[in-house]
């Protein structure tokens, strides 16, 4: 059995080495695949804060992913058409600057998470799962019927957005940006786990009554976790949209919410690197199995079923021989 920190180091090293090698042998598609894995991992790291640490099984995290995507899509759309964006009383111009887009994506999805959290955290268990799912559908149908921004067809952005000092049109610098943000999110989650807040949140998952007895409010702890979680997933959505230069209502779809949970589970739930490992495995499977058969989702389903029934800790659980935290 291997210690978890060595596996984490290998995963991180792999994320540096594989794209660099692809750059050397001139295989830009591999870099794009790696970027896809890193961005999905970032989204799942966000969800892991709520799901793994907070025990909140949200089946609607695509809301934040989609909001991040549309934040990017709408700002860049106004920048490329030079039409000002009207916000009721005042008007602002669009922007192609990534840092501003990221900030907007984070703020918008955090606000949405606050509103959804306030409503749905009143409930728990199955009700919570179904309500987050329903909120996801609400946003999905809204995006479809909102024809000002493409409706069902989505929005295409012709050029990737800019980051000061980097040529983001090249795959490698953009990959570097995404990886840097993923590392920041991992550090955030790691610091969070060690902080008093993280300890209280963990406790609120395992024994809510005891947390209440010592004078803490589990509902408030969960709400804060949900907001942080939504913000990180929203940032990932903005990056995902920039990777594809395309936003569409499918970013809000409930299948995406499901897949984000799947990423965490195949990697290892509640572990720092679980989502990262899961996202890499998912993208590799999607690419390889997708090349062998059109029906690769059947095999994904079978693998997922086997993991749930027989390998509770996911891949990290198998490698380390420890099941990991229970959610």
């Amino acid at each position: 059995m291997i210690a978890e920190r060595y596996i984490n180091a290998v995963v991180l090293l792999g994320l540096l080495v594989v794209p660099s090698y692809a750059l050397m042998v001139d295989e830009p598609f591999t870099i794009t695949l790696a970027t896809r894995a890193v961005v999905l991992a970032l989204a799942a790291v966000g969800l892991n804060i709520a799901l793994g640490t907070g025990g909140l099984v949200s089946l609607g995290h695509a809301v934040f992913f989609g909001l991040g995507g549309y934040a990017m899509g709408i700002l860049a759309f106004h920048a490329q058409t030079y039409a000002p964006l009207s916000l009721g009383i005042f008007e602002i111009g669009g922007t192609k600057s990534m840092p501003i887009i990221w900030l907007v994506a984070i703020v918008v999805s955090a606000l949405a998470a606050l509103a959804i959290g306030l409503l749905s955290l009143r409930t728990s268990g199955v009700y919570f799962i179904m309500i987050t799912l329903a909120f996801g559908q609400m946003f999905y149908y809204f995006a479809i019927s909102w024809s000002a921004y493409g409706g069902e067809d989505g929005l295409s952005i012709y050029l990737r957005n800019d980051f000061p000092g980097l040529n983001t049109l090249q795959p490698m610098p953009f990959f570097g940006l995404c990886l840097a943000l993923l590392c920041l999110a991992l550090i955030l989650h790691w610091r969070l786990l060690l902080s008093p807040f993280g300890l209280a949140l963990n406790a609120a998952r395992q024994a809510p009554q005891r947390v209440e007895t010592v004078g803490l409010n589990p509902m408030r702890l969960r709400l804060v976790a949900f907001v942080i979680s939504g913000a990180v997933t929203g940032l990932a959505g903005a990056l995902f949209a920039d990777l594809n230069r395309f936003v569409s209502p499918t970013m809000f779809s409930w299948q995406l919410s499901g897949e984000l949970i799947v990423l965490i589970i195949i990697g290892g739930v509640g572990r720092l690197f679980g989502p990262v490992l899961g996202a890499i495995l998912f993208v590799v499977l999607e690419h390889w199995l997708g090349a062998v058969t059109d029906f690769w989702h059947v095999w994904l389903g079978v693998i997922l079923l086997l993991i749930v029934l027989f390998a509770r800790g996911g891949l990290l659980g198998l490698l380390t021989g420890k099941e990991g935290p229970h959610v």
Binding site: L133, A134, F142, I265, L304, L309
Partner: protein, 306 residues
């Protein structure tokens, strides 16, 4: 806006509502008795529709198609329960969500494998096709009227089953205290398989019936499944009465909202903007309804448990 149109839309809403009830009844029963959240319920709806379309295509008999749909969905349900679901009763909600999500992937892609990606079509039987005149000079499709009738019959049948039969007593007892009825000698795992197969059969019936007015295609179950979740959250999980009231509320809200919200906004907005805002809001109306119900009653209209 004429009265005729209003009545027609209300009938459409009722028809949608009773079909949602067929889905929600199984879902709520399965949750109430086994404590299981079953995302794959939509797949059983799809299985019913595909079985019906295949049999109707081969034999031309709609009745035979319906019977096959019921049998196929019930068999698929019982099989899934014995092979997979049985291991999930003691598992966490997260595991249940994941395992049944995996089942959706397997069912959907498996069906695509067998039937291909193109939608199938299921024709309305001749005896039920065409419009019928209702009092007041309303012409309404006979088939949709028949769907309302079937839905109400099934609702009555379910009430009779749970309130008046031995199986119903066991089901209700299972909801309250599974250890106790196991101790009294009821074969719990057989009871669970029966309840699951019953829920699956209802979903399959809904799929076959709705399949004749929509196309039969991969992924047709999931939008209905999510609406069925909304229904049982509104009605209160585990309550069949709640599922019935919730289903009618959701069916009427969805149908009437789509027609009347744009009209409502036209009263004080420009036509384009009103259509735009109205239809955007209409597509979210059932979810807004759900949020309102939850703020008012976090366990739904007829829900007892927290």
């Amino acid at each position: 806006m004429s009265t005729l149109l209003l009545i027609e839309q209300i009938l459409n809403g009722l028809q949608f509502g009773v079909m949602l009830f067929l889905m929600s009844a199984g879902l709520t029963l399965i949750f109430g008795v086994m404590g299981l959240i079953n995302l794959a319920h939509g797949s059983l709806y799809m299985v019913g529709a595909f079985a019906a379309a295949a049999v109707a295509g081969a034999t031309g008999s709609f009745l035979l198609a319906l019977i096959t749909a019921l049998a196929a969905a019930a068999t698929a349900g019982a099989l899934v329960e014995i092979v997979v679901i049985r291991r999930l009763y003691r598992a966490t909600h997260l595991d249940q969500v994941l395992a049944t999500f995996a089942l959706i992937l397997i069912f959907s892609e498996g069906t695509r494998w067998v039937f291909g990606s193109f939608p199938l079509f299921l024709d309305i039987p001749d005896a039920l096709s065409g419009p019928v005149s209702l009092p007041g000079g309303i012409k309404y499709p006979l088939y949709r009227l028949a769907l309302i009738g079937i839905g109400i019959l099934v609702a009555l049948g379910l009430w009779w089953l749970t309130a008046r039969t031995r199986l119903g007593i066991q089901i209700r007892a299972g909801e309250n205290d599974r250890e106790m009825i196991a101790a009294l000698g009821v074969d719990i795992s057989r009871l669970y398989t029966i309840v699951f197969a019953l829920g699956a059969a209802l979903a399959g019936l809904a799929g076959a019936l709705v399949g004749a007015i929509q196309s039969v295609q991969i992924g047709m179950g999931e939008p209905v499944l999510i609406l069925a979740f909304v229904v049982i959250v509104i009605g209160g999980i585990g309550s069949i009465k709640g599922a019935f009231v919730g289903a009618l509320l959701v069916g009427l809200t969805d149908t009437l909202g789509g027609i009347f919200l744009p009209e409502l906004f036209k009263l004080f907005m420009e036509t384009d903007a009103a259509t735009q805002t109205g239809s955007a809001l209409a597509s979210m109306a059932v979810y807004i309804l759900m949020s309102l119900v939850l703020i008012w009653r976090p366990t739904g209209l007829f829900g007892a448990r927290a």
